[in-house]
């Protein structure tokens, strides 16, 4: 029977790779402008910098460019519409002398009272109300039929969506 001998050789190793494996710790150090070669970063400070690198700084365009020329579109320029404040009595601050204004809620009932109540009361006093209470001389608002009201509700200038 042949006896095989195994010899183990212990050898010390030297690691040739960097200990941090290329990761540099920038967690607690705020170093700005670390991207790019030194030459590139120097060139950025001169006139020879790449003009296309910061081509858009977030400003909204007022037109469009065709090749080299720029065509300004007047509709793209924002127009600030400021109301005319001549004769406007309210000022930026309120004086301490002004008492606390407490206004009650303006309910639909209040709106009905404001719009229709006067005519109904006058009609009742002058006897111009019919058997079921309908007005004998209706105003344009009281003449509104349900179909008309439906059409008006669906036109521009309504709240009912």
């Amino acid at each position: 029977m042949a006896v095989s001998r195994i010899t183990l050789q212990h050898c010390r190793c030297i690691s040739t790779s960097v200990a941090c494996c290329g990761k540099r710790n920038f967690r607690k150090f705020l170093i700005y402008n670390k991207r790019g070669t030194k030459l590139f970063r120097e060139k950025q400070t001169t006139k020879d910098r790449d003009p296309e690198l910061f081509h858009d700084l977030g400003v909204k365009p007022v037109g469009y460019g065709i090749g080299e020329t720029f065509v300004e579109v007047p509709e793209m320029i924002p127009e600030l519409i400021v109301p005319d404040l001549t004769g406007f009595k309210l000022k930026p601050y309120v004086s301490y002398r002004v008492p606390e204004v407490v206004q009650s809620e303006f309910t639909p009932k209040d709106l009905f009272d404001a719009v229709y109540s006067d005519k109904i009361v006058n009609d009742f006093k002058n006897g111009k109300l019919g058997e079921n209470g309908e007005p004998l001389e209706p105003s344009p608002k009281e003449q509104l039929t349900p179909e008309e009201a439906y059409v008006q509700a669906r036109k521009t200038g309504t709240d009912i969506f």
Partner: protein, 251 residues
Amino acid sequence: MRLSVVLCNKVADLTKQYSNLPESYIKRAMEQVYWRTPAAPQYLRREIKRKKYYFGVHRPWTAEFQAENQRGTIRKKVFVEPIREWSYFKGDRVEVLVGQDKGKQGIISQVIQERNWVIVEGLNCELKVYGKSKDFPGVYLKSEQPLLVTNEVALVDPSDLKSSAIEWRYTEAGQKVRVSVRTGRIVPIPKGAEETYDYKTKATYKESERDTKASEATEITFEPALKTFEMDIMECMGIQEDRVPAKTFWY
């Protein structure tokens, strides 16, 4: 509780009311941030700032307060008895119980609630000399010293002008009032308590050109009309809508 809230809680209610300043301003004027972590995503928001303040005679938003609380100055902790119901207001008649002016009555000119202090006009004064030298006799300045509300001062009953203990009780109407324990008479809160840095009373406030007057602010310009906001604008601008929308159906 966040520290900013705690800081502002140290400034008492009456001080804030007298200042007529927004709380955020008082906090901004008081705080001393020595270092902040940079505004970058890898940092947690941390600040190194002063937490313990010394409250003296000066108000927290003044430069003298800042000088008293300069960076590096550490003072011994001042123990202030917490008072549940504060009963002393500016303009109150009060009797001094200690010191040279013991027994004399005066009117409160300042309330420093953070230290339980009250400064009575003309009483409990200290005479100090400034700049005395061989040739110069010096300048003498008399200033009122603060008095502790708990044991050095007593409210005066207006019916007999004698000092008495005060309690807070409710009237039949449900209003909370101060009542003298000895006589039972109500001690009203003086008009001077309404005073702030900007006005003595609201009714005597001096209006400037940028203030809206009462007549303009309380004027009702609302006219109820059976129109929505859109319809109102259309009428104003003269927009007429003649198109009739096509019929749609819900199933």
